[in-house]
């Protein structure tokens, strides 16, 4: 049996009513959790980190839903929160890794944690490792275009960057990944 998705309009109506706010919010989470999860996971790779950021995303959404002005799609708004939370997390982790590296006087490798659980084949893993080598923002652009199939206009609304800049970023990202995969 296929569950029909609740419309964003219906979800927002429920959330804005004090008596049905929780019901509406649970519907919101169920509707968008997977898509946001994979967006975050592709950046962070680790499930536990992704879980933390995804929770924080929805907590911020709950707090900020009163400010949602409906001049953008609900998913665009959520995606923007998730993106910012992910980048913020990555920056904090980079800082603490640097501090730890300084403390240990040793360089901590910036590769995927050995504890990350993989179920995919080596080819797919190679691709994700190559993506991991991109700067954060470029990695975001690549993931959103390559895996989510987003249009540049949609990405521009989420990232607040021009379509032209996004196209250039994606072009460079694809080139770098291809070079990385050739070098192996």
């Amino acid at each position: 049996m296929i569950m029909q998705e609740t419309s964003d309009v219906k979800i927002l109506d429920l959330i804005r009513n004090e008596h049905s706010a929780e019901e509406g919010f649970l519907l919101l989470v169920k509707k968008y959790q997977q898509r946001l999860y994979w967006h975050i996971r592709r950046m962070l790779h680790d499930h536990d980190d992704t879980d933390d950021v995804l929770q924080e995303t929805f907590i911020k959404a709950w707090k900020g839903i009163g400010n949602f002005r409906e001049d953008s799609q609900l998913f665009t708004w959520l995606f923007r929160i998730a993106t910012n939370e992910t980048l913020s997390f990555m920056r904090k982790r980079k800082k603490s890794k640097q501090l730890l590296s300084n403390a240990l006087n040793d360089k901590i490798p910036d590769h995927i944690s050995q504890e990350t659980s993989y179920s995919g084949d080596q080819i797919s893993i190679r691709l994700h490792n190559a993506i991991q080598g991109l700067p954060h923002k470029q990695r975001l652009v690549f993931n959103m275009k390559y895996f989510d199939g987003m249009k540049y206009e949609e990405m521009a609304a989420i990232l607040g960057t021009s379509v032209g800049a996004l196209k250039a970023s994606y072009h460079h990202a694809v080139k770098k990944i291809e070079q990385q995969l050739i070098l192996g």
Partner: protein, 158 residues
């Protein structure tokens, strides 16, 4: 339909990548994770003590916090200017605080700002100051804002 050269090339590279490497996720998800996640996040929300603020109250508090920070910075600058030692570069300017509009700017350390510059592969010569060739915090912040970088990263109010 007319397309740019880069777009045509992207599509070609895109297809080759997908044909050879696909676009599947090679990651495991714990069994039952998505089934239990909505309730878990709702429980986290209920645990947090802060009530949901209405937008006008939130913005007033933010404005008040920004004014307090501005006042504190002004006081520090006045006190500092009375010292006899040579003047040091200003860490924050009123314009910085105004432009950011967020109290989090006060927490932004030099290392963090520099990491943004490095991450974006920005041209450092454009943020060097005059004769000293030193990296000016104000120049970095204004440059990042002008290039729409910092605005993106600072967008914590939803």
């Amino acid at each position: 339909m007319k397309t740019g050269k880069n777009t045509e090339n992207d599509n070609g590279i895109d297809r080759r990548l997908k044909d050879q490497y696909g676009n599947s996720m090679p990651f495991d998800v714990p069994h039952g994770y998505f089934e239990s996640f909505p309730e878990k996040v709702m429980a986290s929300i209920k645990e947090r003590p802060a009530r949901r603020l209405s937008a006008p109250i939130h913005r007033k508090l933010l404005a008040a916090a920004s004014l307090l920070i501005l006042a504190a910075i002004s006081l520090l600058l006045i006190l500092h200017s009375r010292q006899t030692s040579p003047p040091e570069p200003v860490a924050f300017s009123a314009q910085d605080v105004y432009l950011s509009g967020l109290s989090s700017l006060a927490e932004m350390e030099d290392a963090y700002l520099l990491s943004l510059v490095e991450e974006e592969n920005l041209n450092l010569s454009e943020v060097m100051t005059g004769d000293t060739n030193e990296l000016s915090r104000q120049a970095i912040i204004e440059y990042l804002l002008a290039e729409n970088h910092l605005e993106y990263y600072l967008n914590t109010e939803y």
